[in-house]
């Protein structure tokens, strides 16, 4: 734990000193490429997968209409066997990928979090299984006040 923090601090300093160019991945595995792309297929590709298959076994629970795009609550769960990770993607945000959660064995493939939405958009929940297959489920969420502007 301390070691990880120290490493990150050193990396932070190294970045501040210009030793690492932006664009290089760093710190405990943060998939920079996946956080820069704009489409579902590109995000899944950046996570190492082929275009995902739609699945009814992924459940997205969220408001249909979000009054405040700065804080849109999502609960996502997967009934797909061997679910290894769940990602939350917002199609019309500047970058599509919002967050990725990895579930070791013993942790339920269920997560509840809050994300920003700049405007009304499709939201995709993407599941990766331990054999490297990707699945997704879509849901449209209408936003009356965007969460990315000033």
């Amino acid at each position: 734990m301390l070691q990880g923090g120290g490493g990150a601090a050193v990396l932070g300093l190294a970045m501040a000193a210009g030793l690492f160019k932006p664009g290089r991945a760093w710190a405990q595995g943060w998939n920079k490429a996946a956080f820069e792309v704009k489409t579902l297929n590109d995000a899944v590709k950046a996570m190492g997968g082929a275009p995902p298959t739609e699945s009814k076994d992924i459940t997205i629970t969220s408001p249909d209409i979000a009054e405040n795009g700065a804080v849109v609550p999502f609960t996502i769960s997967s009934k797909i066997p061997n679910t290894e990770s769940i990602s939350v993607l917002v199609e019309k945000n500047p970058s599509i990928l919002a967050a990725k959660f990895d579930f070791p064995q013993g942790t339920e493939p269920w997560v509840n979090t809050r994300v920003k939405m700049g405007q009304t958009s499709n939201v995709f929940a993407v599941v990766k299984t331990s054999d490297g297959k990707f699945y997704y489920a879509p849901k449209e969420v209408k936003v009356t006040l965007g969460g990315c502007g000033g």
Binding site: M1, G4, G5, A8, A9, V10, L11, G12, L13, M15, A27, Q28, G29, W30, N31, A34, F35, A70, V71, V72, P73, V90, N93, P94, S95, L97, A98, A99, K100, F101, D102, F103, P104, G106, T107, E108, W110, V111, N112, T113, R114, V115, K116, M117, G147, C148, G149, G150
Partner: protein, 103 residues
């Protein structure tokens, strides 16, 4: 150093449900200040949760996670009195670790 997280870990049936509220700006890098200058991105990138030294959840976040992030998840194998530890690291390399006892 950032403010402490609020962590609640409680038995929910045979699982432990953990709820975490972190204190962080989660600045997107898209906003401009009053002078029109872009406010640089500043956000949590990695989150790890551990129980008895075993990772029970890890996450990678972008700046689209809401300010003062909330996270809830459930894992098996915990019991009342055990500790759950949450650590985050942001894109400045700042990090914070907090602990809660399962009730």
């Amino acid at each position: 150093m950032a403010d402490p997280m609020k962590i609640r870990a409680a038995m929910a049936g045979d699982k432990v449900e953990v709820k975490v509220l972190m204190s962080h700006e989660m600045e997107t890098g898209q906003r401009k200040d009053a002078k029109g200058a872009v406010v640089p991105a500043w956000f949590i990138q990695n989150v790890t949760a551990q129980h008895n030294g075993k990772t029970v959840l890890s996450a990678e976040w972008g700046p689209a996670v809401s300010k003062n992030p909330f996270l809830a998840f459930r894992f098996s194998g915990g019991k009342p009195g055990d500790k759950v530890t949450i650590t985050w690291t942001d894109n400045h390399g700042d990090t914070r670790t907090d602990e809660a006892t399962i009730s």
